[in-house]
């Protein structure tokens, strides 16, 4: 066995098994296959999280819900108030409820504690919450707590909605969590058909930095009513009316694909994909929504709004474009929806994305990314710090757009960085977001700190001596 791994200790920059997860853009379209939708490779230091994470991020922005994490403390501790979703009213969602299971609970089961926890919430919280989500973590999946039964019992007893989310981390990857969240939302919406009314639901916008409010503002100007926000700044009251909408518009398709499809089957609500990043995508999206949900009058209003906004925003972007055009970039984010939108916007600015990574793309997603990419771009599925480091060295991008874990790596390697993370404080989508995005691109790319990052106090030994003599000269004078 000793000889099994020849050259075992040689450090590699890419694991052999990972090579199929990486492709290089060549030729105009088609071509290139990438391995994706697979489990992360042990020891590769994947940037991915888990099923629970996927479920929690989708449901968390529901502002008046209680989110109980059923399990030991860690999962609740690291996801407390975890993202920048803003609320116009309730703040209940910013609390982290955990059953904080201990050793005895693991041995004897946690059902009783969960039930008692829900009883306590109903008794003590003012006002009494209408909606509780119960998330199962890894341990709960293993010890076999029947959280379905507990939730059913509590729902019946207290006349509130108590919805289980069986999100044990090991049962899959983050997209499974998205699907479970969608299933929980469907359960909340119920089975009954509701009379349709004019108006739409916005799916897959989590109101980071107030983004959904801005989009709602656009829709109001066009004359289109929003029935339910799913799930940014959403509430129990809004979500249960979602089945009455005439159209679903879907921003983050990765997280909301299942829900939009099921709502079409169950409630007959058609859906369209929209993107509010970049001039072309915002224009197309707003006009399309107007066409389907509003008619010609709405289309005219949409065109007027888009023209006015473009007239306002384009000159601002142009000023920045002069300072950014010709630069190169790396884009490593979680979802492909975001990656594609960012690539398109960068290209509008004359910036060439040379490294593109996402955590959970499908073959179709990667085909789209491939089509939008520039020649020679490296495309990575479920990438790791070691791979990012390798390609930063190879491609030397001028700017990196990514999340928290990419931020520290890029900055440590001296690469300007724009944070496109979910805990962002300011909008990055919509026209407002475009201005923020270019401002941040310019701020980081043209910041004086990078000049200092290229300097040394002493680069050679003899230089040190020269410096001493120079200092003496100054003293003599």
């Amino acid at each position: 066995m000793g000889g099994e791994f020849k050259g075992f200790l040689d450090v590699k920059d890419i694991l052999t098994e990972r090579k199929a997860h990486i492709m290089v853009k060549s030729g105009c379209c088609g071509g290139g296959e990438i391995r994706c939708e697979k489990e992360s490779i042990a020891g590769s230091v994947s940037q991915r999280a888990c099923v629970y994470c996927g479920a929690r991020v989708v449901l968390n922005p529901i502002t008046d819900a209680v989110h109980i994490v059923h399990g030991p403390i860690g999962c609740a501790s690291y996801t407390w108030d975890l993202r920048g979703s803003l609320s116009s009213d309730a703040a209940l969602f910013r609390n982290s409820f955990s059953t904080d299971l201990g050793e005895q609970d693991i041995i004897f089961g946690g059902e009783k504690k969960l039930e008692a926890a829900i009883e306590e919430i109903v008794k003590k919280l003012e006002p009494k919450p209408k909606l509780i989500f119960v998330y199962a973590t890894c341990v709960v999946g293993v010890i076999g707590d029947d959280i379905d039964a507990v939730c059913r019992r509590m729902q019946k007893k207290h006349g509130i909605r108590v919805i289980p989310v069986k999100s044990s981390g090991f049962t899959g990857a983050k997209p499974l969590g998205y699907k479970l969240a969608c299933a929980a939302l469907l359960e909340l919406m119920g089975d009954d058909q509701q009379e349709k009314q004019p108006g739409i639901n916005i799916l897959g916008d989590y109101n980071h930095g107030g983004e959904i409010w801005i989009i709602e503002g656009y829709l109001k100007k066009i004359g289109i009513k929003v029935i339910a926000r799913v799930t940014g700044d959403s509430t129990y009251g809004q979500l249960i009316k979602a089945p009455s909408a005439s159209l679903n518009i879907v921003e983050c398709s990765g997280s909301m694909a299942y829900l939009s499809k099921q709502m079409e089957i169950k409630f007959g609500i058609p859906s369209i994909r929209v993107r509010f990043i970049g001039f072309e995508d915002i224009r197309n999206s707003l006009v399309q929504v107007a066409e389907i949900a509003g008619g010609q009058g709405a289309v005219d209003k949409a065109l007027k709004l888009v023209d006015e906004e473009e007239a306002r925003v384009k000159p601002i972007i142009e000023t920045f474009k002069k300072r950014l055009s010709g630069k190169t970039a790396a884009v490593c984010v979680g979802g492909t929806y975001k990656a594609i939108a960012i690539i398109r916007q960068l290209k509008e600015l004359g910036i060439r994305p040379l490294i593109i990574g996402t955590q959970h793309g499908s073959p179709e997603d990667y085909k789209t990314i491939h089509d939008f990419s520039v020649e020679g771009a490296v495309i990575l599925n479920d990438t790791s710090p070691a791979e990012i480091e390798k390609y930063i060295r190879e491609k030397q991008p001028d700017i990196f757009v990514g999340n928290v874990k990419e931020r520290v790596l890029a900055l440590k390697m001296g690469i300007p960085f724009v944070d496109f993370n979910h805990d962002r404080k300011y909008p990055l989508t919509t026209y407002e977001g475009m201005i923020n995005f270019v401002t941040e691109l310019d701020l980081t790319a043209n910041h004086p700190v990078w000049k200092w990052a290229r300097t040394d106090l002493i680069s050679k030994k003899d230089e040190f001596e020269t410096m001493i003599s120079a200092e003496e000269e100054v003293l003599v004078k």
């Binding site: 490779i41 020891g43 407390w80 926890a117 306590e120 003590k124 070691a386 520290v408």
Partner: protein, 454 residues
């Protein structure tokens, strides 16, 4: 007094899990990498949490357990993960730590690690294992459990030498550098475990390194058994997970324990121990710095006397900070931790006896409870990590950040609050935070209070 308002719920946790503590401990060993045996999410969450505090790339590998591994055992995943980790990072030391999941399905990481070593030619790599079920305790306990396991598995009967062992609690890398400076002032040769001074706060360099420089050398840990003495910093470590106690019992290394040197008395204690261990007179810098601290305390005593503080964090840290508060006439009105705190209670009982308004001590508590008491007791300052940020947001009570994690301020990794000079910096930060609130509206308040309108 109940430690938590809710019996069956922890609302807004004032604690983190054991593997997180192990992650911090292992990072303090030279050329090391950590492997978390569990589901992918644990490593992702911990990396994000650590990264937002330290502003450093922090790579923690995961054995990425999925459904099959959970049913049939995760040994293959762990072995494959170790192989990949070695190929990608080339570490000399690997710390394997368990999670809730691995512990619940009964993974024997010691055996798996031994098998891995037998099956592969990895003689140059040292593997240390530690059992840290997320339900078994908190970050504080995970940290010392890992340190204890490191010493138990690495230290071996060695010839006696003149170095002393310094066992460190979690302190910011800035504070670790400061403590080293104090040791060096006594010309003490030491083995510090762990040493996160560079590994969690690496200087910018044009040459990026996957595993940052610094950390305790493996050979040094081996030699801890032959040290002249051990100084364990932090007075609340239970014997069962105390590396100092282990070295005493197993190798007869004399053990000194002292609180974190924050405040006059704790720093006096620390400096005197250093003098006694090294058999050297106290260097001149210390009386000078001490004099400056007392000078600063006198300057601030009118202001500091009006401070009523909420303090929370690791038991070691909140004990030391409470001491500083008491020395300065402040009222440490609520002293709270998410960790079990019987040693803390005992230590504090000797300190707070004379106070008219007794501080409330809460252990195994949560922020939901802390918040309610903070309002009832009308505290006017918060001293602790970012966990209290919502209390500030809701009620405007200003914070001084200390401990881990600090995610809403810059420089949590560079804080220096230890020793006489550090204590003075902490006092200044406390007083200045208070001042910013107190006199910002002073003229308006006084006008409204005393001026009679015609």
């Amino acid at each position: 007094m109940k430690n938590r308002n809710f019996t069956n719920l922890n609302i807004n946790p004032c604690k983190m899990c054991m593997p997180m503590g192990a992650a911090i401990a292992f990072r303090g060993i030279e050329n090391s990498m950590m492997m978390l045996h569990g589901s992918q999410g644990c490593s992702a969450y911990m990396r994000t949490h650590l990264t937002t505090h330290f502003s450093e790339p922090i790579d923690i590998a995961s054995s990425s357990l999925h459904e099959n591994a959970t049913i049939y055992g995760g040994a293959d995943n762990l072995k494959k993960g170790l192989k990949n980790l070695i190929q990608l990072y080339g570490p000399k030391v690997i710390g394997i730590s368990t999670t809730c999941l691995a512990e619940t399905i009964g993974e024997d990481i010691k055996r798996i690690a031994a098998e891995f070593k037998a099956e592969n030619d990895v003689s140059g790599i040292n593997i240390i294992t530690t059992n840290t079920p997320g339900y078994g305790g908190t970050l504080y306990e995970g940290y010392f459990t890992a340190l204890n396991d490191i010493v138990k598995q690495v230290a071996k009967q060695d010839s006696l030498h003149n170095k002393i062992n310094i066992i460190m609690p979690y302190l910011a890398p800035g504070d670790v550098r400061n403590i080293k400076g104090m040791l060096e002032s006594f010309d003490i040769e030491y083995i510090m475990l762990p040493d996160i001074s560079k590994t969690f706060d690496a200087p910018f360099s044009k040459e990026f390194k996957k595993i940052p420089e610094g950390g305790t050398k493996y050979d040094d840990i081996e030699a801890m058994s032959g040290a002249k003495a051990t100084l364990e910093v932090g007075a609340t470590v239970p014997d069962s997970i105390s590396p100092g106690k282990y070295l005493l019992d197993e190798f007869n290394v004399p053990l000194y324990r002292c609180p974190i040197p924050v405040g006059v008395e704790n720093t006096d204690h620390f400096v005197k121990i250093l003098s006694s261990i090294s058999q050297r007179a106290i260097p001149e810098r210390f009386p000078e710095e001490r004099g400056r601290l007392i000078d600063g305390m006198i300057d601030a005593h009118k202001l500091s006397a009006g401070i009523k503080a909420l303090i929370y964090g690791d038991p070691d840290l909140i004990y030391a900070v409470s001491c500083l508060c008491l020395e300065n006439g402040m009222n440490p009105s609520i002293i709270s931790t998410g960790t079990h705190g019987s040693i803390l209670r005992e230590l504090l009982s000797g300190k707070i006896g004379e106070l008219e308004e007794k501080p409330l001590i809460l252990d195994e508590t949560d922020f939901e409870t802390i918040e309610k008491h903070a309002l009832e007791r009308k505290v006017n300052l918060i001293i602790g990590n970012s966990g209290g940020k919502q209390i500030t947001e809701k009620y405007g009570i200003p914070p001084v950040r200390i401990g881990f994690p600090i995610q809403d301020r810059y420089g949590g990794q560079r804080l220096v609050y230890t020793g006489y000079s550090g204590s003075l910096k902490l006092l200044d930060d406390i007083c200045n935070t208070m001042l910013a609130g107190k006199f910002g509206m002073h003229r308006k308040i006084m006008l409204e209070r005393y001026f009679h309108k015609e």
